[in-house]
């Protein structure tokens, strides 16, 4: 079956449009109903960068605000994410502390930073930063090692375990972390390999 890849119809109102090559990678709308037909390379990159930035800022809150408050009778305790990491940091458990720190904090932040580093120049119209390709490649490679959302599930399980014996209150960092997970997921959905690589490759600034 032969089809014409330059014909794209609007999913909302069924009008068929013809796309040129450049139009494929720009933001376009349907002529009749205005529904967005293509996002455009530029927009995709913008979104990735924007979300990466958000992710980094949220991680700041996560690190420095209290995460959870435990109240059991007369006893209060509060833990920040750093406390969670340090809880392990004694002797033989040190590698574990390190692992937790890396998977929850270092990798997600690193990925966001790498993406910003590689893609922000494109948005601003500058030429590629040195090592932008390696940066982008590592951003992709590190994806399975960013376990922020798994941490959230772990938190949920821990809360259930503790709920029976104490009152647990959530701190600012908790919600920041939830948002962080959501933002990271969104960010990953906008990371189309082909789009990003061709953008880098064709950056002639």
């Amino acid at each position: 079956m032969i089809y014409d890849p330059t014909c794209i119809a609007c999913p909302q109102c069924d009008v068929v449009h013809r796309f040129s090559a450049t139009e494929m990678v720009t933001r376009t709308r349907c002529v009749r109903c205005g529904y967005q037909l293509t996002l455009g390379k530029s927009e995709a990159i913008t979104r990735v960068v924007g979300l990466a930035l958000t992710s980094t800022i949220l991680m700041g809150i996560v690190l420095f605000a209290p995460f959870l408050y435990l109240n059991a009778g007369a006893f209060d305790s509060s833990a920040s994410v750093v406390d969670v990491v340090l809880g392990f940091a004694s002797g033989i458990m040190m590698p574990l502390a390190l692992a937790v720190l890396v998977f929850i904090i270092v990798v997600p932040v690193a990925r966001s930073m790498l993406l910003i580093y590689a893609l922000a120049p494109l948005l601003a119209g500058y030429r590629n930063a040195t090592g932008a390709q390696s940066a982008l490649r590592w951003a992709f490679l590190l994806k399975p090692w960013a376990m922020a959302e798994i941490f959230m599930v772990g938190v949920a399980v821990a809360l259930v375990k503790l709920a029976g014996m104490a009152t647990v209150n959530t701190g600012a960092a908790f919600w920041a972390f939830v948002l962080l997970v959501v933002v990271n997921t969104l960010q990953d959905t906008f990371m189309c390999r082909n789009t990003l690589w061709t953008s880098l490759a064709t950056n002639t600034a």
């Binding site: 449009h17 013809r18 979104r47 958000t54 700041g60 605000a65 007369a74 029976g164």
Partner: protein, 589 residues
Amino acid sequence: MSNTAPDPSVLQDLPSPRHDKPGRRPSLIWIMPLLALAVSAGVVWNNYASQGPLITVTFKTASGIRAGTTEVRIRDLRVGIVEAVGFSDGMAAVEAQIRIDKNIARYVDTDAEFWLVEPKVTARGVSGIGTLLSGVYIAVNWDGKEGIKADRFVALDVPPLASFGEEGTRIVLRARAGGQLAAGAPVLTSGIEVGRIGQPSLSVSGTTVTMEAFILEPYNARLTTNARFWDASGLSFNLGAQGIALKVDSLAALLEGGVTFGTPVTGGEPVADGHIFDVFPSESIARANAFEADASPDITASTLLDTDVNGLGLDTIVRFRGVKVGEVSDVVGIAVEEGSQAPVKLRVDMRLSPRRLGLSKGLSDDRVRELLDARVANGLRARVGSEGLFGQTVILELVNLPSQAKAEITLDPDGRMMLPTAPAAVPDADAGVNGLVTRISNLPIEELMTAATLALGNISKLTDTAEGVLAADGMDRIPATVDQTLQEVRSLVTAIRDGGAIENLNATLRSADSALKSVDSAASTLPALATRLNAAADGLQAVVSGYDSDSRFYKDIRGVLRDISTTAESFRSLARSIERNPNSLLLGR
């Protein structure tokens, strides 16, 4: 619609999609980071704005203080938390950085006091047990008024004397150094605890100890200027003219020291904060000092004694009409040249309280001498006396003896006032062991024996002579007369013998002997008695067990034992409930 293949020619003139206007507005995505920034800023600002001030408190040790965990509490309500613990400059002490809650920060002024609350077991009970489970905390006390702000404090070593909200009177106590008073020791009156002592501090001279004491309301109403304090520490064991007295005030006083006060003399004004009281070593001394108000300077006087006196020395009491008016401060041997029987006399120097002697305060030395001279003219003399159950305590007495020859106060070459003396009082011969021994020694046994021997000798000589006379020639002419004489002599001797005089003599001798023997045996049991008394004083167990069960001491001990067993029992039940349900502790159920 038909199923035929689509006609590509239909798709010839397709419209191009619409583009957004150039100069399109920036992507909406940027709202996200901006929002995140705003929220971050909000969180951070909120954190800082709601933060109270940071203060530094210095402690001797950091026992149990942990950054992020140890709280600062007043009346058990959390008002701050330790943020960091570290060394002070020079590693001399530990500094804790404390974040005080904003809403009470204004009370933390220079009057605020901080101290560490940790588990403590003292004679007064167990305190701070809760901190075993919850960790130590820092308690703070303030007066509720806003004063000058401060942000550096030194923690107290012991909890302050008066807690927040306690009303009472603060007084100053002065005691002789070497007592047993410790900070926190109780102040008692009539057996009830009415206050506590603060930290004792040694005076510069090292002889007195000064401490603050806090008397709680409403007991401070009983505190007047006539109140007298005495040391209630330990036991007091008294063997005196009144007999044996064993006193123990309370268990806490026993172990930790304490002071008791009483008011031997009614009257007296209410006491203001800062009034100074002396602490006397025992109740009897305190009561004896009941009339002494302000101490005026002592009068020094001296007297020359002829007799040797064993037991007269420093601190020997000087009495006037039975009341202590002073003490002997020195005893010196003086060589007196002019003709007297004893080449060396004892000069006894005394310190007398003018008030006790009935002299008003603030008199000049000359005036004092005039007044005393007048008394001496009326018969005031100094002499050695004795008191005590066995008369073993030597005292110096000032007595009025109007029958004495006139005398007056003289000044010795060094300007000392010399009081005239009177002979030592004759001990009551009828009283006591002394009298018995004296009576026995007064018996003219020796003379009796000598006379008897002489008489017998004479009688035998007489008999010999008589027989010689009879045996001589020419005695026949007078046999009848001689016989008669002989007869008479014989009957005299018989009469003497029959009269029982010799027996009486023998009997007297025998009873004197047995009297001496009983004195001997009495004397030999005295040491044993003393040993028993010592053993009684040493063996506290025996004393306590036999002590009056109504005393506070006994009650205290019983109370403590009861507390201990109740605590032990509750720990046991707690442990049992934990075993059954480990979550009960956290839940509180």
